[in-house]
Symmetry: C2
Subunit: 329 residues, 2 copies
């Protein structure tokens, strides 16, 4: 099959049939910045959205070294063992300073890669978090139409990527390794407010005692935070991905949580509020990419930038010049 | 004088003459979201930009409790005692969760408020960091045209506001109080990379020993970071704002730093790179506010939002509908 010549409806059929090559191609189209791909992407998303699927979207965050890869490798395997299909996406806006990828090479999750009921997609790259966010949301829609019941979205605690992930998931998991005490010092308050559960990873060997202490400290500290809008406070658990301990409890917690939230209406309300944000972010993203694709912008912006960099124009006047040119176009 | 009836050139004359009432009015116009104010704001900024001033822009960040207000109160006073005029601005994007102001009521800096060579402007409020950023940049331009030699821009370590402030200053100061050891745990790595100096505050009374230890720990830890592009590593100092100790050294450090950077060309290069970012952010901000002011948006967006919230439309299709309506308008 030559993937390059597929029609939109052939792509959609392939997605519905869980044809992995076609799913990957569809995500590539969605991630593309080429205008001709945007049209096909829109048709694909429309087709996928109409095919409603029951799914659980789980966000997983943690600093480098918190054991995210090992956790997802084993946790993903556990989910497939319950008869579900699992897909893993990452949100990885390129670092502003280094322009490099934060998460680095994706030769991780060696076992999960080979699992027929799992799909792993390396990160969408992009210069803006907004762009990455939109692509991730659209990838989720494709993966759900392809029959994945559980979508894991991984991110690293950099900038506002956790907020972005939190805004597209049903359950938000913070991974943390036990440190030398003083556990709450090292994490941003905002993450604690977002987390539905905190998991102390690597609770094995010499680490068990420290992990237990960290669990106690977190549990105690979390009492100081008010419960969330849905009435819940985050739970604290420990796990060992290499010894396969504690993973089942985490999965049980998430399933129970989602069922409770579905019964109370919070699950749907949360998704609808997320959809409202998606609408706004989609609109803004589209407007900006239209602006950057505009012939007047492509003609004038590079020289205006140069004028500003060389000190021959103020940023303010340069911007006004371009905006005027766009209006008279 | 009735400020409401001033012409743009009268406002500009007032700014150049350091008429504080007119400076405040000009900043209020710049902060306004009303379209009719935007036109006058543009004229004011054009006029102020053409009046080039030598200035030092200093960013000051630190968590609540780090002693920012007390520090700025005394540090601002010290700068005016060297014969310079100082202005204080804050970057305070309203918290996303609470919708309230982070920095709270500004009945702080009681002494500096009364100082004839100091100007304090409470925070521009706004729902987006981009909006606050643009207003702050424009306020800086007005204050420099009004003859302020030193602009202090205060922020709190929330979200990306430090990155925003770092992107508009010549020197970036991180304030930190000595804790119970483990100093580096509690701060985001990104801030360390941005800081030109770290100041341990409240180094007085019982705290002196802890402050000295914290200084040592930071100095040691900073050796692990590579030097910045300009060849420098951040310096670590201690100070006591209430005992007026260490403030002079900080001011000396900043002046020497700026002179060295001016000689090497880094000062100007940095400002030009900041201007390039300003150009881009200004353009994007203008495009988005134009979109939200558009009659078609004002007509359709509320009902599309409702459809999405009520589950009657997907965010994706709702967005496409509005974009189509805008194009055919």
């Amino acid at each position: 099959m030559n993937l390059a010549n597929l029609t939109t409806s052939e792509i959609l059929e392939g997605i519905y049939a869980n044809n992995v090559a076609i799913v990957s191609k569809a995500i590539t189209i969605v991630e593309s910045t080429k205008p001709q791909h945007r049209l096909i992407a829109n048709a694909i998303i429309s087709g996928c959205i109409s095919k409603k699927q029951d799914s659980i979207r789980i966000g997983i965050t943690g600093v480098p070294g918190a054991g995210k890869s090992t956790f997802i490798e084993q946790f993903g395997g556990l989910i497939t063992s319950t008869g579900k299909k699992v897909a893993v996406l990452t949100i990885d806006p390129s670092s502003r300073r280094t322009k490099g990828s934060i998460l680095g090479d994706k030769t991780r999750m060696q076992e999960l890669v080979k699992n027929p009921n799992a799909y792993i997609r390396p990160s969408a790259s992009g210069s803006s978090l907004g762009g990455v966010t939109r692509k991730t949301r659209e990838s989720i829609v494709i993966l759900e139409a392809a029959g994945y019941d559980c979508i894991l979205i991984e991110t690293i605690g950099v900038g506002q990527s956790e907020t972005a992930v939190h805004d597209m998931v049903d359950f938000f998991l913070l991974l943390k390794i036990a440190g030398a005490g003083d556990e709450l010092q090292g994490i941003k308050r905002g993450i604690i407010e977002m987390a539905d559960a905190i998991v102390i990873t690597k609770a094995d060997g010499d680490n068990i005692q420290r992990a237990k202490l960290a669990k106690m400290e977190f549990t105690r500290a979390l009492h100081m935070f008010p419960p969330k809008e849905n009435g819940r406070s985050p739970e604290v658990l420990t796990c060992s991905a290499i010894e396969l301990k504690g993973l089942h409890e985490i999965w049980e917690l998430i399933v129970t949580y989602c069922n409770t939230m579905k019964a109370s209406g919070h699950f749907l309300n949360n998704r609808r509020r997320q959809n409202e944000n998606w609408l706004i972010q989609y609109l803004e993203q589209e407007l900006l990419s239209e602006f950057y694709r505009h012939p007047k912008t492509m003609e004038l912006l590079p020289q205006l930038k140069n004028e500003v960099i060389n000190g021959n124009s103020s940023p303010f006047l340069a911007a006004e010049k371009l905006l005027k040119a766009l209006k008279s176009h």
